[in-house]
């Protein structure tokens, strides 16, 4: 096994020569379908560079086969969803649900779910303003969160097939998302609104909320039956949930491994890709499990044998890691490593009880999600994570215009400062604004300088 290293796309291109043909041939998605040429996905980043994902030219990638597989899987999702439709599967978009309703969707046969919100990544990946400008022309400009890119994608009709149903959450969720959905509805997308109940603090009586959520899930289930022409099966539901639970435990395990004491066993960008798998399993639950299992095994091996990247000593927790993965690379270049992350996608973390009634189990898991709790609850989680991972500092990145950012960020910063935990906070800037981005780089560098100086002093 080769020493863990972060390499660029050129180096991956050359290293790819050493990947056995057999693996390229074997590693495929949709294994339940007759195997077509298109189902291979183990390809180097240079492939995606050629197809316009310009940011990949600047990123650093982990040099393992497991990471290559993860990247290949992530980068092929767009095509995969189209192939699903070509193969006669139903395509369900799940918007703003933060991973809550996907287990139910996948318990229907012959179906894939995808997460249009993640299109926010595309403008960054392509270093392009196309999707933002498209959304702008439809009325969602700079004052709206980056999720507006998904409206651009709906409008262009070139990023995913028309969903057979789009499940969109409203209520206690991002307002920008709701705006995107109502615009998408104008474009002829069939939308089912799933209403999230208000946030609660830990002490609230959850019975009422639970009943409310159960109703929402039952309603959704009926809509899915209509859209797919299939009947809901509790057995299949249990089977699916068992897989989903496995995935959730895998992700929790992998996150723990990222804090390995000796050295960072994995890049922050790969960790982000891994965590986002929880949202919609990148369109193939079974293959996603296989990808994450290989990824976990590698990280376990590295963590146990003390292998990892050199010269990354500052331990950092990153709150809502950015749409711009370049920043995560950059902090690593400055000697940082991300040992913990705190995303908004908490609905994807709780284990769902397979012994209970399906809708009750879904509601119960949903209510455990931290984002269903108050801001103060989330603040405590961040602090708890900082302490558990022995972090030297915290980075909080937000999105200008994103409705949840202001009331999440301020209390976290203030709580961290009171505890004397160094914190850096900034808003990620959209592609094409070089000056603003270089200012973020500057702050990150200053932050790392101050953390290093402190560490040095502590060391004597």
């Amino acid at each position: 096994m080769t020493e863990p290293r972060q390499i660029d796309f050129r180096q991956w291109h050359r290293l790819f020569q050493q990947v056995p043909d057999r693996l390229v041939e074997e590693i495929r998605y949709y294994r339940h379908l007759p195997q077509a040429e298109w189902s291979q996905y183990l390809f180097p980043p240079s492939t995606h560079v050629v197809y316009g994902n310009r940011l990949l030219r600047k990123l650093k990638f982990d040099n393992s086969q497991a990471a290559l597989r993860l990247w290949g899987f992530v980068m092929s999702e767009g095509e995969r969803i189209y192939r699903a439709r070509q193969a006669g599967m139903k395509v369900i978009a799940v918007m703003g649900d933060l991973g809550a309703v996907t287990p139910l969707v996948y318990s229907f046969p012959n179906i894939v779910a995808f997460y249009p919100d993640c299109l926010w990544w595309t403008p960054f990946l392509m270093e392009s303003r196309e999707l933002f400008d498209e959304a702008g022309q439809l009325g969602l400009g700079e004052d709206c969160c980056f999720v507006r890119a998904s409206l651009g994608a709906f409008s262009r009709k070139a990023y995913f097939p028309k969903p057979d149903l789009c499940v969109g959450t409203v209520g206690a969720t991002c307002d920008d998302m709701a705006t995107v959905m109502s615009e998408a509805e104008q474009l002829g997308v069939d939308i089912h609104y799933f209403e999230l109940p208000h946030r609660h603090d830990g002490d609230t009586d959850k019975t009422a909320l639970s009943g409310y959520l159960e109703n929402q899930y039952q309603e959704l289930c009926r809509r899915l039956e209509q859209a797919t022409g299939e009947t809901f099966s509790p057995d299949r539901f249990r089977e699916t949930v068992q897989k989903v639970n496995r995935m959730r435990s895998l992700i929790a395990e992998i996150k723990d491994l990222s804090g390995a004491p000796a050295a960072s066993p994995m890049g922050a960008v790969e960790m982000m890709n891994m965590e986002f798998a929880a949202l919609s399993y990148y369109g193939d639950l079974d293959e996603c499990l296989a990808v994450l299992t290989e990824f976990r095994d590698l990280m376990k091996f590295r963590a146990n044998s003390g292998q990892g990247y050199q010269n990354q000593d500052l331990r950092l927790v990153w709150v809502t890691p950015p749409a711009d993965p370049l920043l995560m690379n950059y902090i690593e270049e400055l000697g940082g490593r991300v040992v913990g992350s705190e995303y908004l996608i908490h609905q994807t973390t709780p284990i769902i009880d397979t012994k209970k009634d399906p809708f009750e189990a879904l509601a119960e898991a949903h209510l455990k999600a931290t984002l269903m709790g108050s801001s103060a609850y989330r603040v405590n989680l961040v602090i708890e994570q900082v302490e558990r991972t022995h972090a030297d500092g915290v980075i909080i990145s937000g999105v200008f215009g994103s409705s949840h950012c202001p009331y999440e960020t301020a209390p976290i910063i203030s709580a961290l400062r009171q505890k004397g935990i160094p914190v850096l906070s900034f808003d990620v800037v959209a592609p094409g604004k070089r000056r603003l981005q270089s200012q973020i780089f500057n702050r990150m560098e200053a932050f790392s300088e101050s953390l290093k100086a402190r560490k040095k002093r502590r060391a004597g």
């Binding site: 400062r417 200012q439 702050r443 200053a446």
Partner: protein, 264 residues
């Protein structure tokens, strides 16, 4: 200072700001020479000119310089420097040397402003920056001085004489200009308008600093720290006395030179 090398080891600090480039030679005890020029469009060139000029003034040759450290926004493009450091760290270091008691540092430069909290051991504990728009920077001041057809120097002196600063509510340069013009048209005293502009910057900077829970003593560095009215308004806005180091625009370059020497 503990850990200081014996004098004679000379280092150079260069601060390439968005407006001006500053360079100085440091021997561990004193600044032997300084130079400052406009950064213009070619940071690399201004840095090397500033470097040569300050060496000339100090009458030393490049081979006598043990290390050159660059800082400031243009630091990325300087190939002849040994190392670089952010202006946040550099300013904090420079001011801590000049005014060792400093707990809070306000720095207002040409394009941005920052508030830096310095801990007991002269390290940066926390910082905040305003670099998104001109408001709160020297540029804003320059622009509005121009609107009133005054030099920046005269503008600040006029402002300093005011007892009754007007409130300028616009933070956008363009809107602030029209606000100033309409006040002047309404017959508001020129000095009150000018001091209002200063106050508006001070309030923005103070707002940024407040999020960091600033403590006294407070120091003020950067080119704008030569402006008497701004010193007064920052003091009012932060509710404390403000100390300004000698040659405040060189604090970053000095910090860079000191850090260079410490890393020898």
């Amino acid at each position: 200072m503990p850990g200081m090398k014996k004098s004679g080891d000379m280092t150079v600090g260069i601060d390439i700001g968005s407006r001006t480039t500053k360079a100085l030679v440091w021997n561990g005890e004193e600044v032997l020479s300084r130079s400052m020029l406009s950064t213009g469009w070619t940071p690399e060139k201004s840095a090397s000119v500033a470097f040569e000029k300050t060496l000339q003034t100090a009458a030393i040759s490049p081979s006598e310089v043990k290390r050159t450290m660059v800082t400031g926004y243009g630091r990325g493009s300087i190939s002849f420097a040994d190392e670089s450091v952010t202006e946040i760290t550099a300013h904090a270091r420079g001011v801590s040397y000049l005014l060792p008691e400093t707990k809070t540092l306000i720095d207002i430069g040409g394009q941005d402003s920052k508030a830096i909290i310095i801990d007991d051991e002269a390290l940066v504990q926390d910082f905040a920056m305003n670099d998104r728009c001109a408001a709160g920077s020297g540029k804003f001041l320059e622009f509005l001085a121009l609107t009133m057809e005054l030099s920046v120097q005269d503008f600040s002196e006029l402002a300093f004489s005011s007892k009754n600063p007007m409130q300028i509510s616009s933070i956008c340069t363009v809107f602030a200009e029209s606000e100033v013009l309409s006040m002047l048209a309404e017959g508001v005293a020129r000095e009150d308008v000018a001091s209002g502009v200063h106050r508006s910057i001070a309030l923005r900077v103070a707002q940024m600093a407040h999020s960091l829970h600033p403590q006294v003593p407070i120091a003020f560095s950067g080119g704008v720290a030569r402006n008497r009215c701004m010193i007064r308004e920052i003091g009012v806005a932060l509710g404390g006395d403000i100390s300004v180091p000698e040659m405040p625009e060189y604090a970053g370059a000095l910090g860079a030179a000191i850090i260079a020497r410490e890393s020898l």
